[in-house]
Every structure is written in structure tokens, then in C-alpha cells.
């Protein structure tokens, strides 16, 4: 077991986040341009006298300022032959009036005819009905209508393009949440982080190779504490060695962790020798410092739910497994409260992306992150037979 001094001996691989179906559809939507933003409805009106624009904008700005969640909206847009201005958002109390006018404000399509399917909806109201109080000189405003606008700011360039086709919006790049396409590398993780992930998977891969050479199914699973960067357990498939169809690598790794904490259910599981693990950790320790943000994340995950006081299980740990775990193992990892699972190649009955997406299932009480594709080619070469 030589340390992976030269990472280039592996085929190139990509870290691919395994998303929920909803997130995946959103991403697909970006690619094909079919993202529909969350919408809210506004009263708007054409500006019939362009000389009045700045006066009207200012008056509306003072009397009907946009709330902090609406500040991405530009007040005025140019639409075909004229300009249109947002008067104010439609409030719950407006709905009665609108329903009397046979308008259902929740079913509005958007405005500008040339770039949207629907049209802005006409209403039988006057500007005076909408801007009550009479403080604003309404000269220069035409017949009001209803328009749907994005209800939140765009989070990335792709969203911004879609948002802008509905109503002009401002976009502050610095406010965006990390985008999968941006960041330090193609996968949104730094080169250093990718190296770290590859090294940990390399441990799982080595274990899987040994396992296969001893007649096992060639699967390895490694548990890492991201706080210290230490490898805590290295499990391998024991279904054949122990004649138990449930002793998949992940189940073994989970029990090895329990054994270290004074528990455990299975006796005589062969693991990587303690000395070996220490050697690995020494090498790893030289290379990397625990990452501050990981530490924060783990604290956070401990604090936020009711089972937080459980001092054992795998709370906050990362698991590196050569193949996508089956439904039993995936749920076992969920019961054990892991924070992230990295796997090499997909399995046809896999439960972290292929058949189920247990890690982001809305019905369950814990979620974790899953990534696939780590040292994928090397991991796939070890897969033997059909049965997980």
C-alpha cells in the first residue's frame, strides 16, 4: 500500500454533485432556457408623457418604496413603443376588488408581448383607484394593468437572463450563492479539496482491491472526520467472508466506528490494521490542516436537530465508498447521520442518485450531501457481478 504520491496515475475524474430531482430539473431548465422564476404581481401603468418619468419615479419611490425583497426590480421598463412603470405590489386586500373585476391575480401571465406567452392583464380600474390618497400628481400615467415580476433576486447569471426577460432586474454578482458552474474549478471545489477527496477515495480503492484479491466483492468504504482530516475506519465487503448478505462495506465501516466508541455488533471484522491507519493519518496530517469551514459546518449540523446530543454514530463524518451504496446501506448512513457521501461509480440499484435519492428525500429527518464520480474509472473496474 504505497501512499498516493503521484495523483496523476489515476484517470481524470470529475466531482459530480448528486442533486434532488427538483434541483436537477432547475438546472436542466437553465440549460434549455425554461426556468420559471417565482413571481409576484404588481400594478403597473404605461407612461404616456415621457417628460413625467423622473417626477413619477420619484413620487412613487417616496410613497410606495419597494421593500428590501423587491429591490432587484427596476421601476421602469421600456416596452415596444412606450415605457411602463411599476405602481405598487398587489396586496391581499386588493384581491377582493380584483375578483369583483373578474381578475384572479394569482393567475396572471407576464407583460411584454414580444417575449412572453401571456399578455399583461387589463383591469377595469383607474390609477386613482390604485394610488389612493391623492398625494401623487398622476399626469402622464395611462390605463393601469397587472403584471407578474420575479419575486426574488436572480442568484446567478443564468437566472438573471431569464429574470430579465420578464421584467428588468438588477443583479449583484456579490450577493449570489455559490454556483455549481463557478468557483475555483469546474466542479465548484478548489483543486486542493479535489486532491483531498481523491486521496480519501484512494484509501477506499486500495481496501476494495485487497478485498477483491481475498475473494470479496471488491467494495471499500472509508469514514473520515473532516474536522481533523483523519481516517477513522476502513470497511470492506464481508458478505462472502462472513457468509452474511448484509455485511456490505458501508455496514462494516459503520460498525467499525461503533466498535471504536465502545460498541459494535459484529466480531472479527477485518479492518486495516490500526498501525496502518495511523501511518495513513500521519501522512495525511502532514499534508493538510483541518478546514475551518468544515468544522463550522459540523458544529452547525450537531446543533440544529433533536438528536444532537448523541455522542456517537457517525454525525458529521464523511464516507468514501467505491460504488454507489444500495438502499440498505444508504439508509444506514442516513440513520448514522453522516454529512457527506462520496462515491466512485454508480450502481444500477443505487439509492444515492440512481434508483432512489435517499440523501435528499423530503420525507426523511436527515439529509446529507452526495457526490459521484470520484476516481470513477478505477472504482468501476472493481465492480463484479450484478448483485449489489
Amino acid at each position: 500500500m504505497a501512499p498516493p504520491a503521484d495523483d496523476r496515475k489515476f484517470s481524470s475524474w470529475s466531482l459530480i454533485p448528486v442533486l434532488s430531482l427538483k434541483e436537477e430539473q432547475e438546472l436542466k431548465g437553465y440549460d434549455s432556457g425554461h426556468v420559471i422564476p417565482p413571481l409576484s404581481t404588481f400594478f403597473a401603468a404605461p407612461i404616456t408623457d415621457k417628460k413625467q418619468i423622473s417626477r413619477l419615479s420619484q413620487a412613487l419611490y417616496l410613497q410606495y418604496p419597494l421593500s428590501h425583497t423587491q429591490r432587484h426590480l427596476k421601476r421602469v421598463r421600456a416596452c415596444q413603443y412606450n415605457l411602463e412603470i411599476l405602481l405598487r405590489p398587489i396586496m391581499p386586500e386588493d384581491r377582493v376588488t380584483l375578483l369583483k373585476n373578474n381578475v384572479d391575480p394569482s393567475k396572471q401571465n407576464n407583460g411584454c408581448p414580444e417575449n412572453s406567452v401571456g399578455s399583461k392583464s387589463e383591469i377595469n380600474l383607474q390609477v386613482t383607484d390604485i394610488l389612493q390618497g391623492g398625494y401623487i400628481n398622476l399626469n402622464g400615467l395611462g390605463k393601469p394593468f397587472i403584471v407578474s415580476v420575479p419575486s426574488r433576486a436572480a442568484r446567478n447569471q443564468k437566472e438573471q437572463q431569464v429574470w430579465g426577460s420578464i421584467w428588468p432586474c438588477t443583479y449583484h454578482a456579490k450577493l449570489k450563492t455559490p454556483d455549481k458552474d463557478e468557483g475555483n474549478s469546474k466542479e465548484g471545489v478548489s483543486e486542493q479539496e479535489k486532491l483531498r477527496i481523491g486521496r480519501n477515495m484512494h484509501r477506499a480503492l486500495e481496501a476494495a482491491q485487497q478485498n477483491q484479491s481475498k475473494g470479496g466483492k471488491g467494495v471499500g468504504a472509508v469514514v473520515v472526520d473532516p474536522e481533523s482530516g483523519k481516517v477513522l475506519a476502513i470497511g470492506t465487503d464481508h458478505t462472502i467472508a462472513k457468509a452474511c448478505p448484509l455485511l456490505h462495506a458501508c455496514m462494516v465501516a459503520i460498525d467499525l466506528i461503533a466498535q471504536q466508541q465502545g460498541g459494535g455488533a459484529y466480531v472479527g471484522l477485518s479492518s486495516v490494521e490500526e498501525k496502518d491507519r495511523e501511518r495513513i493519518n500521519e501522512e495525511t496530517g502532514k499534508r493538510m490542516e483541518p478546514k475551518g469551514d468544515e468544522r463550522e459546518k459540523r458544529k452547525h449540523s450537531k446543533a440544529k436537530d433533536g438528536d444532537a446530543e448523541i455522542p456517537y454514530l457517525c454525525t458529521g463524518y464523511e464516507v468514501y465508498v467505491t460504488q454507489e451504496p444500495c438502499v440498505m446501506c444508504s439508509m444506514a448512513l442516513l440513520h448514522s447521520r453522516v454529512s457527506t457521501v462520496y462515491y466512485g461509480c454508480s450502481s444500477i440499484g443505487g439509492a444515492l442518485g440512481t434508483y432512489y435519492r435517499l440523501h435528499c428525500s423530503s420525507g426523511l429527518n436527515h439529509r446529507f450531501l452526495a457526490y459521484r464520480g470520484v476516481l470513477e474509472d478505477e472504482c468501476r473496474r472493481l465492480v463484479c457481478g450484478d448483485e449489489i
Binding site: 457468509a243 452474511c244 448478505p245 448484509l246 455496514m251 459503520i254 460498525d255 466506528i257 461503533a258 466508541q261 465502545g262 460498541g263 459494535g264 455488533a265 433533536g306 438528536d307 446530543e309 448523541i310 455522542p311 456517537y312 454514530l313 457517525c314 444500495c326 438502499v327 440498505m328 446501506c329 444508504s330 439508509m331 444506514a332 442516513l334 440513520h335 448514522s336 447521520r337 450502481s347 444500477i348 440499484g349 439509492a351 434508483y355 432512489y356 435517499l358 428525500s361 420525507g363 426523511l364 429527518n365 450484478d386 448483485e387 449489489i388
Partner: protein, 175 residues
């Protein structure tokens, strides 16, 4: 209401599983009991052992499975053949993990009491029992609902009993 498919024999086994659950409850453990019955005899039984083992996967069904494997070794039987002809009787619907395990073991039938709303793998959260998941053992049949209210009542009693002022290190029991 009792499920119509239940034979008298099945009801007897379920009542035994309920006795185990009651026993667990009396001893401060999660009131879930399970039996694995092969060839008219109990070849495995189990209750939740998450606390003792510090292993979140030690649900009653997993514990019983290991007993069946031991029984097979002692009796010189192949565990594959035994599991394929074994019925699981359990007071609460198996969770997603256990349902996955039962598929891998190729257990043909599971008789259970109440549903497991949080983690159930036989229809409550996912239907691991019936879905056609490739390369993951075989689907199995379920007969749910025998004394479901009783099973729920026992769980409720257990969670009520749990002292909210227990030391922080005390593990929350789960199934």
C-alpha cells in the same frame, strides 16, 4: 380491524412478537419486537439494540437476521435457503434500511402491526418492499395492520415515559 389474509397461526406468531415488544417496553427499550419463523419454529428474534451497540443500524430485524445466520451454522443449513422460506413477524413496519436488508435476504413475506411514518420502507416513506429495484434482492409481500393500535399505543407509552430531563448523553431511542 384484522387483515383478512392472517391465518390463526400467523396471529399466534404476531402475539408472540407483541409479547417481546411488551417485554422491551417493561425494560425501558423501544417497544418493537420481531420474530423470524422458518419451518414452524423461531429461528431468530430481535429487539432494537442501537444503544448498547452504539450502532444506528441495529434495529430488531437486523439483530434477528444475525440469529438466523447463527442458527443455520449450528444446524448445518444454508442460510440462503432458510431465508427464502422464512416469514418475518414484526410489530412495526420495517424502516427503509431493514426493508432493503429483507430484500437482500430474499425473505418472501413480512407481517407487521402499525406503520412507521418516519422511516417506513414498506409504503409509508418509500416502497422498498414492492418497487422493482434492480440488483437488490427480491421484492417481498406485506400483511400490515395486525393490532396496529396496540403497537402505536406501546410506542406512545414509551415516548411518554422517556424522561425529558434525562442526562444529555442519554441516547434518544428510535425505530
Amino acid at each position: 380491524m384484522e387483515p383478512p389474509e392472517m391465518t390463526e397461526e400467523m396471529k399466534n406468531w404476531m402475539d408472540k412478537a407483541f409479547q417481546m415488544a411488551q417485554d422491551a417496553l417493561d425494560n425501558g427499550e423501544v417497544p418493537v419486537g420481531c420474530l423470524m419463523v422458518h419451518d414452524n419454529q423461531i429461528v431468530g428474534r430481535g429487539r432494537n439494540e442501537v444503544n448498547e451497540t452504539k450502532n444506528a443500524t441495529r434495529h430488531a430485524e437486523m439483530v434477528a437476521t444475525d440469529q438466523v445466520i447463527d442458527w443455520c451454522k449450528k444446524n448445518g443449513k444454508g442460510s440462503k435457503e432458510v431465508f427464502e422460506d422464512t416469514i418475518l413477524y414484526v410489530t412495526v413496519e420495517p424502516c427503509i434500511m431493514c426493508a432493503g436488508a429483507l430484500r437482500l435476504l430474499r425473505i418472501p413475506l413480512v407481517v407487521y402491526g402499525c406503520c412507521n411514518e418516519r422511516f417506513g420502507g414498506c409504503g409509508s416513506v418509500l416502497n422498498v418492499a414492492e418497487n422493482s429495484i434492480p440488483s437488490t434482492g427480491t421484492p417481498f409481500k406485506c400483511i400490515p395492520g395486525y393490532k396496529a393500535e396496540k403497537a402505536v399505543e406501546m410506542l406512545k407509552t414509551f415516548y411518554k415515559q422517556e424522561n425529558p430531563n434525562a442526562p444529555r448523553s442519554k441516547v434518544r431511542k428510535k425505530e
